[in-house]
């Protein structure tokens, strides 16, 4: 083996094999074997990814065609993988965080019966496989396979406990919302094929190919791709599925809805960055949608009481930040935030899972409190995660969020101001969550208190690893204004984005301005954290909320709005078609034909009298008729 890049196909293949073994052998394999296989394949994938990463870091990017996938006329789409700086980073995140979550799941899902346990790991492996396909595909079609694959897997995993109706509905909602985005993605894909006749990234994203598009076409295609991204990455208006997706097991929430799947939209746009950079209108739209989503979701998170719902809205909000970064042209900041967010959001979700595990399935944080006494490791790691997401200086979230805010400031100071407000809300609701859960006194039942315990090692070790990453992960992106040339991530990703940066107008803010911005946000965030800590560790808000608080608690009534504007009319149309069109018209035609035939045959039956004479009479009349037609009418 000369080069690891020759065996990158093993990275997605191994999870697929794991999925097949676990899925087919779920009845016969023991839980231990399922866990070892499920986690082991991901670990091997991670090691290969790590190796590939160092190859890419040394400057070797690689595209391999394995076999022709679609050959129709002039359209040739090979099954090809592409390993470059961008996909290498995603590979590390997916397999690395994915591995930790698999290990965590072996303990978290241990109470499931054996068949379900195997099925769960099969789904999880299949999900990792789809996600790897998505990021490794060298053209849009392979990417789309993975794109649909993660949609399918999220449906399967959200609805994993499908026996409860609301969970099954949440799974449906996620799938349908994703389909809306996928449709836009597909249309964009068809437009691309129609225009340039290829879907391979390296063929499309060259200046000469993109020069064939008019600005209008570029804007249309990029907007459609963005709509696809809003479905997958939970942005306005398609974000409502993500909070509902918390119906799935908690590790699933961590894997799919925090660390990997939702970043597919970011990945796709980052992959197409050159095209997006050539469509400034689209970038504006993305920035506006991004900041709006960030603020909306953050405001909803302020008043949620379900521990996972808070984290879910926080995810939507953080994704909004990533889109804000993309809209501002700060692609590196977006990728950076994807990475740090993967660390600390996975940590937070897994930590909340640990809490829920200890509380015996309770998710309402009003019934928790004072857990720091019982769960030391969970408490500390969770606190580190909160500090990271809030953006306390020194933690990973600080660097990435600050970079996004700096990018937004360069685009427009208004975006910066709104982004800062969002960041403050983030700090507030995270520490409201932390203080309500871990500080104060325990508010649950006696039985729950008796059962409180620290989780086993398979849960705490991933938490510790993720906590370390959350703390130090930011140091690969130390901003320019602090240490010259220390932003190793930006240097690493430079080959991917340099064409775009050449296109975008450069707003290089002065170093003193950036110091000032970072200072302002740090001071404010620390202030908010201290305020929230004080407010909620002593007296958590347990009473019913009113006014604006109630609106926030009910998520701005967006679900109800969608229900009224879209779902109800469609249901009404459906029931109209069912009751009136189908029953009256379609059934009427069908039954009418049947009734006509049976009526006609009942009448014609009288001809079948059995009277031979009558038969012969008919015969003679028929003969007369035939002769008349033959001789006199056919002239």
């Amino acid at each position: 083996m000369k080069n690891v890049l020759d065996i990158v196909y093993l990275i997605p293949l191994l999870p697929l094999i794991g999925c097949l073994i676990n899925g087919l052998g779920r009845k016969s394999l023991s839980k231990g074997a399922v866990g070892v296989i499920g986690s082991g394949v991901i670990l091997v994938s991670f090691l290969i990814s790590l190796w590939a990463f160092f190859q890419v870091h040394a400057g070797n990017t690689h595209t391999t065609e394995y076999f022709p996938f679609i050959n129709v006329g002039n359209l040739k789409i090979p099954f090809a993988f592409r390993i470059d700086q961008l996909s290498a980073i995603w590979l590390l995140i997916i397999t690395g965080v994915g591995f930790l979550i698999h290990v965590y799941s072996t303990a978290y899902m241990h109470d499931e019966e054996s068949g379900q346990y195997g099925k769960y790991f099969a789904y999880l492996n299949l999900f990792v496989f789809s996600m790897l396909l998505l990021v490794m595909g060298a053209n849009f079609v392979i990417m789309f396979i993975g794109w649909e694959g993660v949609g399918l897997c999220s449906y399967l995993l959200i609805g994993f406990w499908f026996k409860r109706d609301e969970y099954a509905r949440a799974a449906n909602k996620a799938f349908i919302m994703n389909r809306i985005g996928d449709l836009a993605f597909l249309i964009a894909l068809f437009m691309l094929i129609n225009k340039v006749g290829t879907t391979t990234f390296s063929d499309i994203f060259t200046s000469s190919t993109l020069a064939k598009f008019s600005t209008k076409e570029l804007t249309t295609i990029t907007l459609l791709l963005f709509v696809g991204a809003t479905g997958k990455s939970a942005q306005i208006p398609l974000y409502t599925w993500l909070p509902d997706a918390m119906a799935g097991p908690t590790p699933v929430s961590a894997l799919i809805h925090a660390a990997t799947m939702v970043t597919a939209g970011i990945y796709m746009i980052a992959r197409c960055n050159l095209m997006f950079s050539m469509a400034p209108q689209t970038l504006n739209v993305i920035a506006i949608i991004g900041i709006a989503t960030a603020l909306l979701a953050a405001s909803i998170a302020l008043k949620q009481n379900d521990i996972k719902k808070v984290l879910a809205y926080s995810t939507v909000s953080q994704l909004g930040y990533m889109f804000l970064a993309i809209g501002s042209g700060a692609y590196v900041a977006a990728v950076f935030h994807v990475m740090t967010h993967a660390f600390f959001k996975a940590l937070l979700f897994l930590g909340s899972g640990s809490v829920i595990h200890a509380m015996g399935g309770e998710q309402d944080m009003r019934k928790m409190g004072g857990l720091s006494k019982y769960m030391k490791i969970t408490n500390i790691t969770f606190l580190l995660g909160c500090l990271a997401i809030a953006g306390i200086p020194g933690f990973s979230g600080f660097f990435s969020k600050d970079e996004i805010l700096a990018g937004a400031f360069a685009k427009s100071p208004l975006l910066y101001a709104l982004g800062l407000i969002g960041a403050l809300m983030t700090a507030f609701y995270m520490f409201r969550l932390y203080a309500t859960t871990f500080k104060g006194s325990f508010r649950g039942t006696h039985e729950q208190e008796h059962h409180l315990h620290e989780s086993p090692a398979a849960i705490t070790i991933p938490l510790i690893i993720l906590a370390i990453l959350s703390v130090v992960g930011g140091f690969i992106g130390i901003p320019e204004f602090m240490v010259q040339g220390a932003h190793s991530l930006a240097n690493f990703l430079d080959p991917v984005f340099k064409d775009s940066y050449a296109l975008l107008p450069a707003h290089e803010a002065s170093h003193s301005t950036e110091w000032m911005l970072a200072g302002i946000s740090s001071v404010l965030v620390i202030g908010v954290v201290a305020f929230a800590w004080n407010k909620f560790s002593k007296k958590p808000d347990l009473q019913e909320t009113t006014g604006l608080g109630k609106v926030l608690e009910n998520k701005w009534y967006v679900d109800e709005l969608y229900d009224t504007v879209i779902v109800k009319p469609i249901n009404a149309l459906g029931s109209f078609l069912n009751n009136v069109f189908d029953k009256k018209i379609v059934d009427g035609i069908v039954n009418g034909v049947g009734r006509l035939v049976s009526y006609g045959s009942r009448q014609l039956r009288w001809l079948q009298s059995g009277q031979t004479g009558a038969y012969i009479l008919m015969m003679v009349l028929g003969m007369v008729l035939i002769f008349v037609v033959q001789f006199f009418l056919r002239k």
């Binding site: 009298s609 059995g610 004479g613």
Partner: protein
């Protein structure tokens, strides 16, 4: 003698046979009417055979096949009559009637 005289005669006999089949209920008479129709056709075939002999006129055998056809029709008719009469006898033995309306029992 022009051919249409013979055709008209044959048609006349044939139609009388048809009317007989339609109006009579006695199975034997119906059967006889069928024989009458067969003979009408036989007559027509012989007339055509002789007409053909003049029209083509070439060799001695032109038109013989028409008359041989009549011969075979007679063969088949004889066989048919023997079987048909046997059926009628059988029917009479069972229902003591030869009214063909009784034959509608076959439909049950």
């Amino acid at each position: 003698m022009p051919i249409n005289y013979y055709i008209t005669l044959a048609l006349c006999l044939f139609s009388i046979g048809v009317v007989g089949v339609l109006t009579r209920r006695n199975a034997i008479i119906v059967f006889m009417c069928i024989e009458l129709m067969l003979n009408a056709v036989n007559l027509l075939l012989v007339a055509f055979s002789k007409m053909h002999h003049i029209a083509k006129g070439a060799t001695a055998v032109t038109g013989t096949d028409g008359q041989l056809f009549v011969f075979f029709i007679m063969v088949v008719a004889a066989a048919e009559v023997s079987v048909g009469l046997a059926i009628i006898v059988m029917m009479y033995r069972n229902v003591h009637s030869i009214n063909i309306n009784f034959l509608n029992r076959l439909k049950h």
